[in-house]
Amino acid sequence: MTTPASQLPQARRRKKNPLPYLLAGAVLAGLLAYIIFGNLAQSIEYFVTPTEYQAEKASLQGRTVRIGGLVKAVSYDRATLDLHFNVTDGGATFPVVYQGAVSDLFKENQGVVVRGVFNARNVFQANELIVKHSEEYRVPRSQGELKDMLKNAKDANAEGQ
């Protein structure tokens, strides 16, 4: 092998353009940073239950928290979008106020996760409301259920118009 370095086979190898790799690396690093820093403030458990909040009231007071529980005593003003309800897990119950449109699945006894703070009157001011739904899916069992379903769908359509 006395060929000069410039004629060695390696030199024939196509030079790869580094730009796509740099871009892809930057995108991945950005996504990772977003995931990490987006979640630093919260624990891996997405929410606390009302009972847990009650128990840790001293340390959580005045801080923005997510509380997850069941919806009770709903009152919703469709004109002003003011929503009042209680969130409970059986052990503790807190009044919640929220303003805005909610998912069609929001109803009495539905699981929700609300994010916000307690105000001076000990009412939970939610600025984010997520409706949880069950992993069980079933078709209506009776004529009554079917009629309810159709009625709800009609109401939802009427609201959308």
Partner: protein, 244 residues
């Protein structure tokens, strides 16, 4: 592998098409759910895409392991193909899930454990593909990426169990597999979901084969380009390559 006489690939493609059409028909005629109405039909796409992404990431780990044991390059090609399919279908799972989440949960995205780990898989397998692109030596590339692929397989149990281990918004499995099998939905949904899941499983095999064949051709072309200047000499990186 005689590429031109390949009958298995078109057969898999045809079977995929038939199963997908049957699954779509069953999905689109499935009755409305008592709570979320027709939105329940999104399950027949969302769950199979998620299943396919698990399958594909599992394939990356399995073929990576096979490569490390046998050192046959074809396993490396299959691991890479599987990884690409996994990323593609994870994105599909996320998009389909977001479209389902908006009308039911009321938001496109929440940072709960299931969704966060799913997003993390894009980082892990994106890095897997990125690392492959950065290493020129095929043997080293196969070795390094096989290790990432095998370790990455941990994602599957973590993501699957995320809804059980941590409190989140994502609902738990409808089909319970651990602690006694149980299907928590109407049987009619079970039929549609089963057909769609089988269809997506065959789709995975089909895509894996197509991508694997492309990878062989790509590799041959690269080797040809590399060997051109010195056709009589020993190819430097082609030495010891066993073709599948």
């Amino acid at each position: 592998m005689p590429i031109l006489k390949d009958r298995l690939t078109p057969a898999l493609g045809a079977l995929t098409l038939v199963l997908l059409l049957a699954g779509l028909w069953l999905s689109l005629t499935a009755p409305a759910d008592v709570n979320q109405g027709l939105l329940v039909r999104l399950m027949f796409v969302h769950v199979p895409t998620a299943w396919l992404s698990y399958l594909a990431y599992g394939g990356t780990g399995l073929f990576g392991l096979l490569y490390l044991i046998t050192r046959q390059r074809r396993y490396d090609r299959l691991a890479m193909s599987s990884g690409e399919i996994g990323v593609l279908f994870t994105v599909a799972t996320i998009v389909g899930g977001m479209l389902w989440a908006k009308p039911t949960w009321g938001t496109y995205w929440v940072w709960d454990a299931r969704l966060t780990t799913t997003a993390l898989s894009l980082v892990v397998y994106g890095a897997y593909l990125l690392v492959r692109g950065l290493i020129d030596d095929p043997e080293r590339r196969a070795r390094v990426s096989a290790v990432i692929g095998v370790v990455g397989t941990l994602y599957i149990p973590v993501n699957y169990m995320a809804v059980e281990w941590w409190r989140g918004v994502h609902q738990t499995q409808t089909l319970k597999l651990l602690g006694g099998m149980n299907w928590g939905a109407a049987p009619v949904y079970g039929i549609a979901l089963t057909v769609m899941t089988v269809a997506f499983t065959v789709l995975y095999l089909y895509l894996l084969r197509v991508r694997g064949i492309l990878a062989v051709r790509q590799e041959r072309r690269e080797e040809r380009e590399f060997e051109l200047p010195e056709p009589q000499g020993t190819p430097l990186s082609g030495a010891g390559v066993r073709r599948g």
